[in-house]
Symmetry: C2
Subunit: 405 residues, 2 copies
């Protein structure tokens, strides 16, 4: 594959955060009615002004700068003392040991961890199973590495209560056909569903039976509503199994501006990831790594308050969306995403997303970023100012009605 | 190529900064004499405690944090206002226009810029010309991308005064044989030589004639001694030529702990790099980007003082090394690296590097990281405490004498 062909598959025109680069050419003739006034809301990512960074982060950063060279130049896999602090916390959180010296790497954001994990396990032509819908970068990563994607359906709308809705028959078929790596997010991004203990157990059993490497993106695993039962896949696998778990403080903890993430699991894979990090970015930002000293050690009650704040926004937005009558949306069990399915519209879904931004100041991410079959859906990150978020979804519902087919 | 084979080529055992992971097994029987006491010096990277970060960096970071969400979530290519600030400064520095909107990307360190530039221009099987010796990651990047390396000799020891010593005949042969990309550092890392105006002019002419994409790593281009004549390749090329220039504030400005870099040049290539950054790390650390507001805008006299401080260390180390009689070392015209060639030793060069660390507390980087032909050389980053650096090189010279063949 030529370099030109490779990059044609890596479009970012609709990627979250890139909307300012979109052009609005040709949108004029499609418009119906007047603009809807109101405070603009960018649902493509969370609003860290409305939900500020976990307390103490900046002071820890300042202490990192004061520590000087030792904090600026860490091992590529990250500062040894910080890894030693984090490993038991990550072990307690996930229910299985974490090897601070050999089994943990700090990365520039969870995106960095994801890239390293995927690029350390997939060679050209290898088969990878990817859930649809799932995080938008997953398919792009496979495309960049020239791996062959085997899609696995997640029927989040149709699933039984308490199930995420993964098609386990399709997953086994994928594994049987020679898939080498299974990559998925849990809680799912964009649908906010959590894999049930039975689903996670089945994935673990299949991965073991077929010798498949599993990469689990648990970025939203701390932001869970109403006591949902969450099972960490790694706790169900033997310690030596090829499993990599990824998490970071960018979302629930609002620390995205520091660009930090972590991956932990099989030492051989972590070692490969470090070799790759050496030529990709050297290390997670040195001073920033110091911020992780406070991670999984927030003040008592802080996380509960953050979850409550998101739950009320979630519930209000669900009420507005469901009030429309023809918008289907499942209640997310975790995370801060809604992934409503819109009714048939008179305009192309991509144009509707542009119209929504142009006429109502509402930025959402088109469903096609997450699955080729989800063109009728849009993703909203509801980690926003409460009042502004409700008003913006009301405008969205109004425009859905206006543009209905 | 399998993923295992791919990663076998990516060793980091001897990479700068990873020495703490080296084992000292089997070194006992090789040792001669007693340890040499003295303050340990890690020449694998600069000492930012001895040469502190450019003034104002931390305050700019703090202002970035205070700015909140807008600074945390920038476009993938970096904050538009900061790019608008930097573009004219980079244009003034390099002598050719920089397009803030379409021709500049901010990255996690210059390593991030280098990875993106190389991965955005080389597909599997493409040919890339790489100077030997040159920055250790260059060959590894080509290996990871399964590109074919065409080495180009840099005879820095034998070159005429004022020349870096690149073999231009070999370069043309490489270009004629179908090389697609030429990647090199100027000033050269590890040798500290600067390409003469005539050499840079010849490279520009050859690249144009053969349609070769050029990636120039100018990381050390601000730290130049004694008015050396530096020519930016991009200033010799038409504005639409496929040239990417890379620079960052990690070295001369001691800002490595913030992980910042920049690449600028042909918009089509910058666009590809951004698409790739979207799946590799999303963006350069958001708050960190704010530090770049002070870049190329340091207080009057600050850069001159930094250069003087390095020049006196350089000159003292050269005197000690040359005093040994059988160590060959060229005077670097820029940067903070020395790349001395040691006499034949009774131990393997890799073992000598371990012995040096074990017996003398002196960490250097083996020459083989930079060229397969440079096993007899070691690299020293002399951006260190002046007194400690001189004492450590004296210990190194003593051990060279002790282990001479």
């Amino acid at each position: 594959m030529t370099i030109e062909a490779k990059f044609r598959r890596l479009g970012t025109e609709n990627a979250p955060g890139q909307e300012v680069r979109q052009d609005m050419d040709g949108i004029g003739p499609l418009l119906r009615g007047d603009p809807l006034p109101g405070r603009a809301v960018d649902y493509s990512h969370g609003d860290v002004d409305a939900h500020p960074p976990a307390p103490g982060a900046f002071d820890l950063f300042a202490a990192g700068v004061a520590a000087g060279g030792a904090q600026a130049y860490t091992e590529y896999r990250g500062d040894a003392a910080i890894r030693a602090l984090l490993a038991p916390r990550l072990a307690a959180f996930t229910g299985a040991p974490v090897d601070a010296a050999e089994g943990l790497i700090l990365t520039p954001g969870t995106q960095g961890a994801l890239f390293l994990a995927v690029a350390a396990t997939l060679a050209r032509g290898d088969r990878v199973a990817i859930v649809q819908p799932d995080y938008f970068a997953n398919r792009k990563l496979a495309g960049f590495l020239e791996a062959e994607v085997f899609p696995v359906r997640l029927d989040h709308h149709g699933a039984q209560a308490g199930q995420a809705g993964i098609d386990l028959d399709q997953l086994e078929k994928a594994f049987r056909s020679g898939v080498r790596v299974f990559l998925f997010s849990n809680p799912n991004n964009p649908a906010g569903v959590v894999f049930s203990p039975a689903e996670t157990g089945a994935i673990a059993a299949l991965a073991l039976r077929y010798g498949v490497t599993v990469i689990v993106d648990e970025l939203y695993a701390r932001l869970r509503y109403g006591g949902v039962d969450y099972t960490h896949l790694r706790a169900l696998m033997p310690p030596e199994a090829p499993v990599i778990t990824i998490i970071g403080p960018s979302k629930t903890e609002s620390l995205s501006g520091y660009r930090l993430g972590a991956a932990f699991g099989q030492p051989a894979l972590i070692a490969r990831m470090e070799r790759l990090q050496a030529i990709v970015s050297l290390r997670a930002p040195g001073y920033g790594q110091a911020v992780l000293r406070g991670w999984f050690d927030e003040p008592a009650g802080w996380m509960e308050a953050r979850i409550r704040a998101h739950q009320v926004i979630r519930d209000d937005l669900l009420r507005v969306l469901r009030g429309a009558g023809d918008i289907a949306v499942r209640t997310p069990q975790a995370g801060s995403y809604l992934f409503p399915r819109l009714p048939p519209l008179a305009v192309d879904p991509g144009d509707f997303v542009r119209i929504l931004r142009h006429q109502a100041g509402v930025t959402v991410t088109p469903g096609t970023e997450f699955s080729p079959d989800a063109g009728d859906s849009v993703r909203l990150n509801f980690s926003q100012d409460h009042e502004a978020a409700v008003a913006a979804v009301e405008r969205m519902v109004a425009l859905v009605a206006r543009y209905r087919a």
